[in-house]
Amino acid sequence: MKIVGVAACTVGIAHTYIAQEKLENAGKAAGHEIAIETQGTIGTENELTKEQITAADIVILAADVKIAGRERFEGKRIIQVPTEVAVKSPNKLIEKAAEVVRNK
């Protein structure tokens, strides 16, 4: 399946990027296509394209703060968790996302 997501932590220096790396690795390892945008101190990076969002089966928001551009995901299935869930259990989170898509 296709997953897109956003990672954003309070300070925007560390957890955001660790969550991105862990989610992307866990997603790819499970055979999914995954792209995670980061919103940190440096600003938005790896910004999701309209095409990526349209094609996505599910959206994962790993965020401790209000994310910018949430309206882009309107009408999509969204899983929202704190960044520490993505850092601690990325594989479980990806499994959960797959489950949600299966049970749609």
Binding site: V11, I13, A14, I18, Q20, E21, I42, E84, V87
Partner: protein
């Protein structure tokens, strides 16, 4: 510049024998002071502890990433400590930590975008199990730098 260039051999310490979080943070903060990254220990530590109070900085796998934005930071950088024994820390997996990466980032980062970008790529590597394994097995500053290469 490459990601590993964020690592300054002068602010890396391996085979540490610290027993507490406070001890290791102090030691690493002194390295940052001596090498011109921060202007003061006390103020910097207050800002680091303010972030510690907000939530766990132990990300699991024996790694902790104390950080916070501080007006006492002159240059963006990191200090890295590899401790011989586990130190008690607030962590996501309930274990202690052996690898401590102390981030120094200022409040005002104007003109520092390329450094911040590098720091974000560096942080990202801490989410990679292979990098973490190499980091924890480091016996020298050069090993630490190599872990991020």
């Amino acid at each position: 510049m490459e990601v590993k260039d964020i690592v300054d051999l002068k602010t890396v310490k391996t085979n540490m024998n610290a027993k507490t979080k406070d001890e290791v943070l102090n030691e690493l903060a002194h390295l940052l002071l001596e090498n011109g990254y921060i202007t003061e220990i006390d103020g910097f530590m207050r800002d680091i502890y303010a972030r510690e109070a907000e939530g766990q900085t132990g990300i699991g796998n024996y790694i902790a990433i104390p950080h916070g934005k501080s007006a006492y930071v002159k240059n963006i950088g990191v200090a890295i400590g590899i401790n011989k024994e586990e130190i008690p820390w607030e962590t996501l997996d309930g274990k202690g930590v052996k690898g401590i990466i102390l981030f120094a980032v200022g409040n005002d980062n104007e003109g520092a975008n390329s450094h911040l970008k590098l720091l974000s790529l560096f942080a990202r590597k801490l989410g990679n199990d292979e990098v973490v394994k190499d980091l924890l097995h480091s016996n020298s500053s050069a090993d630490v730098m190599e872990a991020f290469a």
